[in-house]
Amino acid sequence: MKTKRELHLGGLIFIVGLGVLLAALLNQLGFGGAPMEVGQGMNALGGATTGAGNIVTSVVLSYRGLDTLGELTILFTAATGAGMLLARSREAELADAAAPGAIVRIAADLLFPFLLLLGFYIIIHGHVSPGGGFQGGAILAAAYFVPLLTGAGRGLDERSASLIEGLAGAAFIAIGLLALAMHHGFLAPIGPRGTLGHLFSAGSLPLLSSAIGLKVGAELAGVLAHMGQLEEKP
């Protein structure tokens, strides 16, 4: 083992040069003075067009809906790749056979429903307060970690997780195609607008949020399950 830290000289010179370049660039940019023309237009019209109180959610789900579809594809590819790379035979599932104590088990059983509730709350309220599909989906996946602590493979059936993921992704695309069939455009906001700031408003946006949340949650929970089933260290 090296006891002396060696510095990578080429790397140091590179980042010094890059630092000078970034400093010059950011000096030119200035802070807080961006023209923001498209952003101002979206701020002014976003609430009225989609009926959502959260303009960032309306940008993510309707103005830049195609970007969201691309992001869902990327996440699906990454999760599928990770699952393929980490595929194990059945007997490796019981590798982590250390039984947890009573405190961990009881606390996990009490905590898990509240975490799920928090995740669903943030997903559903994505159009009236900060939140949305991605955040809530990530909370759902993180909530899955709690039963994972009490025993590997418990709490998530892999088949039902991939079923949820596939159905949610298909639902997202189906709602977009429905908007196309109604001659508004792919992934355009459809449905009754409602009043700003109420839970039942913004038409199809809560449905899109729910689809994204379930998909992201199931995918990341599947990745966590694969990571949790790694074999014992040699």
Binding site: R5, N54, V56, T57, I122, P130, G131, G132, F134, Q135, A138, I139, A141, A142, F145, L220, V223, L224, M227, G228, L230, E231, E232, K233, P234
Partner: protein, 80 residues
């Protein structure tokens, strides 16, 4: 207001250096979770609550857990 931002930025850069230079891999993972937490506080200051929520859950939660699940399966001599 500027002092809060100063403290957050200094702590964040310090934790980033700790990610690279802490010898134990599990401590480096914890330092990266600290970086994500302070970054989400900076996002709150920049009036971006959705981004702060996403960064807090993903960076300080999922990312750290994924790393820790991998690191615990490795033997001790695999650090550098």
């Amino acid at each position: 207001m500027i002092w809060i931002v100063l403290v957050l930025v200094v702590l964040m850069l310090g934790s980033a250096l700790a990610v690279l230079y802490l010898r134990d891999l599990l401590s480096a993972v914890a330092a990266s979770a600290v970086v994500s937490l302070l970054l989400s506080l900076l996002f709150v200051f920049l009036r971006a609550p959705d981004v702060a929520l996403a960064e807090a859950v993903v960076g300080a939660g999922l990312s750290g857990v994924l790393f820790a699940l991998v690191v615990r399966r490795l033997p001790k001599g695999a650090d550098a």
